[in-house]
Symmetry: C2
Subunit: 571 residues, 2 copies
C-alpha cells in the first residue's frame, strides 16, 4: 500500500485522556478514534491489526474442529429471564426497548442464545459433542470505561460454546481448547500464561484465564519460570515449608510496646524482622462465633482461601472491636494466640515458627520468644490461608514462584449444566433417555488483544508489533523521492517486486522530511524498514533496520528480496 | 468438510411463518434460525454464504481504492442531533439509554459518525478525495419485520462514504462506485439492473439503486433488454410517440352513458378499446386552483412526475367532488376536456390521439369522435405525466421497455453537502480557504443479498447457488459407505484429492439413505454433485450431476479431477 492512497493519521502527542501506554500509542498511531465514552472507531491501520488477530483466532478454532456461526447482537429479554440473568447481570447489561416496548439487550455474552439454538437443534447423542463459535461485536456498559479498547464498552470478542453428552467429553474439549488457546497466543507472538482461575460470575467449575504478561496488567499472577505452573495470586497454593520447626532457644517475655499496633511498628520497636512475628486476625466463623487466624507477620491473609476454609457463604467478615474485646480482652493491635480461648487456625508457615513475637492480649504489650507446645498448645488446624509470595516454592515442585502482572485476554470454563438445565437443553442418550447436556464456554477478547500486544511490545518511539499481527510487514522509506529519479524508479520497482513476492509493504510515498517518515513508521510499529536514498544507491546499497535493532545496516540492492525474505523467516 | 464434523440441519417443511421462497428455503436448509422478530442467527452453512458475499464486496471495494474501517454500532445521540436526524429518523431507529441515562442508538446508518471522523481527520484538499467503507451489523426497528433476512431488523451492511473537494470529484467517485457495484453483482452471479432512483429519505441528489431481478421483488422496474437502461417505473420516462396525430374521421357525438363512470365501464358499453379514450383527472394546483390532467384511458397517472411538474411541495391532491362540480358542472365519472375552462395539461400520448372518447362534463353522458383543434383548442401543455408501460420505447432510443420486479440490494447516492455542512466538515482548499466537503454514500445489503440470490435461483427441490457464493462447490454422496470398503476407500481418496486441488468439498459421510442425502444436497444448493456407488465403481465410473442438470452422467474415476476442474471453470 502506498501511504498516499491509504489513510495514515498520526499525532505528535496523545490526548490527555489516555493513561495507559497502549491507549496513548493507539491514539497517536491513529489506530483508533474515540467516538464517545468507551466507543472507538477502528481506523484503517487499526482494523488491519484487528483482522489479523481475528484471522489467527478463526484459523485455530477451525483447526480445533469448532464451527463458526453468527448470533444476533440484540437478544430478547425472555431468554435471559429463563436463566434468571436478566435481573442479576446488573447495569453492565445494556438494556433496550424496541418500538413495541418489548425488552432486549445488546448481548454482553451469548450463553442463553446458543443454549436456545442447541436445545432446538440437538436431539441425539449422535450430534454431540459440538463446539460453536462466533467473532462478534459485544457491549458491556462499564461504569468507568477507560484505557481505550482495553476496557471499552463496545468490543470484539470470540466466544465459543461446546455441548456434550457427559463430563468426560466436556473435559476432553476443554483440553483441546486449552491447547488451541496456547497455540493462538503463541502465533500472535505474545508472552502469555494460562492461569488456573476462580470461576467468577458466569458460574460452573474448572476454568483457566489466559493472560498476556505486561507490567500494566490488572491481575497479579504467580508463576514458575521453570515449569508451566501459573495461577492468579489469589488462587496460588502456598505450600508447606519443607524445613521442620526449630527448637525453642529463648524464654517467653512480656514487653511493653506502648502505641505499637501494626506489625511494622512492633518490628521496628523490637528490632525483629517481620518473619519472626505472628499476626493474629479474628474473623467471624460460620456459626457467628469468632475464630483466630494466625499468619506470619510478613504474609497476607488470602480471603478467598479463608472463606472457603470456614465454609462462609459470602466474604470473610473481620470481628468488630467489641467482639475482639470480648474474646481476647484487648484491642486488635495487641492480639496473640497465647491463652486465647477460641478456635485457632494457623497458616502453614506459622506452624514451623519458634521464638516468635506476638501480641500479649493486653493493650500495650507484646510477647517475645514464644514457642508452641511450651507456651501455648500445639496447633490443631494448619492450613493454607495466605497469598503466595515471590520466592515461595512452586506448588508443582518444579521451582520457585515469581510474581508478575497480566492482562486477561482469554478465559475457558467448564460450565457444566448451569445453563442447559435452566433452559432444559436435553438430548436422547444411547439408551433413549432424556439427559441434560454438559457445556463449556471459551472467550477471547479480540479487540483487547491489540492493546495487550502493545502493552507488551513498545518502546519510547512507539509500537513494536509482533510480526504476525503487524499491519504491514515492511516499510519502504524513500529519501528525496520528489527530487531524484533514481530513488523514485528504484523505490517503485522495489515496491512492485516485494509485493509480487507476497510481502505486505507500506511505501511512504509522501515525500515528507525523512525524520517525519522515520518517526511515523516507528510509531505505527512496522517490524522491518528499508530506506532508499540516492547516496547509498550510487554504491548499490539500501539501508535496513529492524524495529528492535539499535542501528541500521547497509544491504545490497541486488539481493534485497532474499535479504527481506530471510528476515521475515526469522520472525 | 465432512458432514459428520459439520453442522447440517435441514427441515422437511418450512415453518408456517415463512411466506417468501427464500425465507422458506433458508429455514429449511438450516442457513438461519429465528431468535426473535426480525432477529436471526446465521448458522454455519448460512454464514459461509454470507462471508463469501462479504469477501467479494470487500475485494471489489479495495480494488476501487476504498479504505476499510469499522465504526461503533452504538452511536451517541448528540451526533444525530447535529443533523436533526435524531428527531426525524422515526421509530426505525432503535434508541438506547445507557446506565448514566445518556442517549444512544444502534446505528441504522453511519453518515453522522463518518462525517465526524472526516471533520476531525481531514484538514486539507491534499487528503481528498477519500472513500471509507465498513462491513457491519446494523439495526432498523422495522414495524413489521418479515421475509427472514430480506427485511430483518438486525442485518449486515456494507456502507461507504466518500469525501471530496468538489462536485466533479464526487461525480468521478460515484462513477467508480457504479462500476464497482456492477462488478460486485456480476461476480456474485446475479442478474441485476442499476436503476436511476429517487433519492428518498437520506437526501441529496443523483442516485442509483441496484436491483436483483426476481418475481417476488418489491419494486417495479422498467428496463430495456437491448441496452443498459433501467429505471424505477415511477421514474422511467414515457417518451413521445413518434407517429403524428391522425386526421379526424368521425364527427363528435354526445352519447348517453347512464351509470358508466369508469373507463372500463365506458369502453365495454361503447365497445371501444381503452387506448381510444381520454381520462380527465382534476387535481389541485400550487396556487390552490384546479388543473385538469389528460391521460390515455389505459395509462396511469405518475404522481411523482405530476407533483414535480406542478411544483407541489407534497403529494398530488385530487380535487374534491365539490371542486369538480364547481369546475366542470358534473361528477368525476363524466369529466372531459371539451369546453373545460381550467388549465389543461396533457400527457404526451394524448397529444397524438384523434377520434377519441371522453366525458361530456354532464352526468351520464360521454362524447365520441372528439378531435383537438376541431372540437376543443389545441393542447398548450404536453408533458410526461404517466407511468411507463411494457412496450413503450426505451428513453435511450435503443429498444422497447419491459417491466420486471427487483429486490433492492445496493444504493449509491451523491449526497452533496447535506451532512458536511450541517456538521461543519470543512477543509482548506488550494488557496487556503475553508470549504465544505462534498459527500457520496454507497450501501450494499450484504445479508439481504443471500436471500435475493435465492429468490432468483431456486427450483422445487431447493436452492441453486451461484457458484461464487455457494457454501461448498461440490458435494460427494457415497452410496453404502458403511457396507462397502471399495466405496469408502474411493470416497476418502477422492475427498482428499479434490481438497488438495483447492476445491471446496462437502462429503456427506452420514451413511444415510441415498434419497435423504440427495434431497439435502439439492436443498442446500451445492452446485456440483458426485455420487460414488459400488455398481459404478466396478466399471470404473462415478456419477456427476450439476445442480441445474436434468440428468446425471457417468464419468471415469481416473479423470474425475480434470472433469470437476473443467466444470468449475465453466461457472
Amino acid at each position: 500500500m502506498r501511504v498516499s492512497q491509504f489513510f495514515l493519521s498520526t499525532l505528535k502527542e496523545a490526548p490527555t485522556e489516555a493513561e495507559l501506554v497502549s491507549h496513548k500509542l493507539m491514539l497517536r498511531a491513529g489506530l483508533i478514534k474515540r467516538l464517545g465514552s468507551g466507543l472507538y472507531s477502528w481506523m484503517p491501520l487499526g482494523l488491519k491489526v484487528l483482522r489479523k488477530v481475528e484471522n489467527i483466532v478463526r484459523e485455530e478454532m477451525d483447526r480445533a474442529g469448532a464451527i463458526e456461526l453468527l448470533m444476533p447482537a440484540v437478544i430478547p429479554a425472555e431468554l435471559w429471564q429463563e436463566t434468571g440473568r436478566w435481573d442479576v447481570f446488573g447495569p453492565q447489561m445494556l438494556k433496550i426497548r424496541d418500538r413495541h416496548e418489548r425488552e432486549f439487550c445488546f448481548g454482553p455474552t451469548h450463553e442463553e442464545v446458543i443454549t436456545d439454538v442447541a436445545r432446538r437443534e440437538i436431539k441425539s447423542y449422535r450430534q454431540l459433542p459440538i463446539n460453536f463459535y462466533q467473532i462478534q461485536t459485544k457491549f458491556r456498559d462499564e461504569i468507568r470505561p477507560r484505557f481505550g479498547v482495553m476496557r471499552a464498552r463496545e468490543f470484539v470478542m470470540k466466544d465459543s460454546y461446546s455441548f456434550h453428552a457427559d463430563r468426560a467429553s466436556l473435559e476432553q474439549t476443554y483440553e483441546v481448547m486449552y491447547q488451541t488457546y496456547s497455540r493462538i497466543f503463541t502465533r500472535l507472538g505474545l508472552k502469555f500464561r494460562a492461569v488456573a482461575a476462580d470461576t467468577g460470575a458466569i458460574g460452573g467449575s474448572g476454568s483457566h484465564e489466559f493472560h498476556v504478561l505486561a507490567d500494566s496488567g490488572e491481575d497479579a499472577i504467580a508463576f514458575c519460570p521453570s515449569s508451566d505452573y501459573a495461577a492468579n495470586v489469589e488462587l496460588a497454593e502456598a505450600v508447606s515449608p519443607s524445613a521442620p520447626r526449630p527448637a525453642p532457644t529463648q524464654p517467653m517475655q512480656k514487653i511493653s510496646t506502648p502505641g505499637k499496633h501494626s506489625i511494622e511498628q512492633v518490628c521496628e520497636y523490637l528490632k525483629v524482622p517481620a518473619e519472626k512475628t505472628v499476626k493474629t486476625l479474628l474473623v467471624e466463623g460460620r456459626d457467628g462465633g469468632v475464630v483466630a487466624l494466625l499468619l506470619r507477620g510478613d504474609h497476607e491473609l488470602n480471603e478467598v482461601k479463608a472463606g472457603k476454609l470456614l465454609q462462609l457463604p459470602e466474604a470473610v467478615r473481620f470481628a468488630s472491636d467489641a467482639q475482639i474485646l470480648a474474646a481476647a480482652g484487648c484491642r486488635a493491635g495487641s492480639l496473640g494466640p497465647v491463652g486465647l480461648n477460641i478456635p485457632i487456625i494457623a497458616d502453614r508457615s506459622v506452624a514451623v515458627m519458634s521464638d516468635f513475637v506476638c501480641g500479649a492480649n493486653e493493650d500495650g504489650y507484646h510477647l517475645t520468644g514464644v514457642n508452641f507446645v511450651r507456651d501455648l498448645p500445639e496447633l490443631k488446624e494448619v492450613v493454607d490461608i495466605r497469598n503466595a509470595v515471590e520466592g515461595d516454592p512452586s506448588p508443582d515442585g518444579k521451582g520457585i514462584l515469581e510474581l508478575c502482572r497480566g492482562i486477561e485476554v482469554g478465559h475457558i470454563f467448564q460450565l457444566g449444566n448451569k445453563y442447559s438445565s435452566a433452559m432444559n437443553a436435553t438430548f436422547l442418550d444411547e439408551s433413549g433417555k432424556d439427559r441434560v447436556m454438559e457445556m463449556g464456554c471459551y472467550g477471547i477478547g479480540v479487540s483487547r488483544i491489540v492493546a495487550a500486544a502493545i502493552e507488551q511490545n513498545h518502546d519510547a518511539r512507539g509500537i513494536i508489533w509482533p510480526p504476525s499481527i503487524a499491519p504491514y510487514e515492511l516499510a519502504i522509506v524513500p529519501i528525496g523521492m520528489g527530487r531524484s529519479e533514481l530513488v523514485k524508479d528504484t523505490v517503485n520497482k522495489l515496491y512492485a517486486d516485494l509485493k509480487a513476492a507476497g510481502i505486505e509493504v507500506l511505501l511512504d510515498d509522501r515525500d515528507e522530511r525523512p525524520g517525519v517518515m522515520f518517526a511515523d513508521m516507528e510509531l505505527v510499529g512496522i517490524p522491518h524498514r528499508i530506506v532508499v536514498g540516492e547516496r547509498g544507491l550510487k554504491e548499490g546499497n539500501l539501508e535496513y533496520q529492524g524495529r528492535r535493532d539499535e542501528k541500521a545496516q547497509a544491504i545490497a540492492l541486488n539481493s534485497v528480496l532474499e535479504f527481506v525474505q530471510s528476515k521475515l523467516c526469522e520472525d
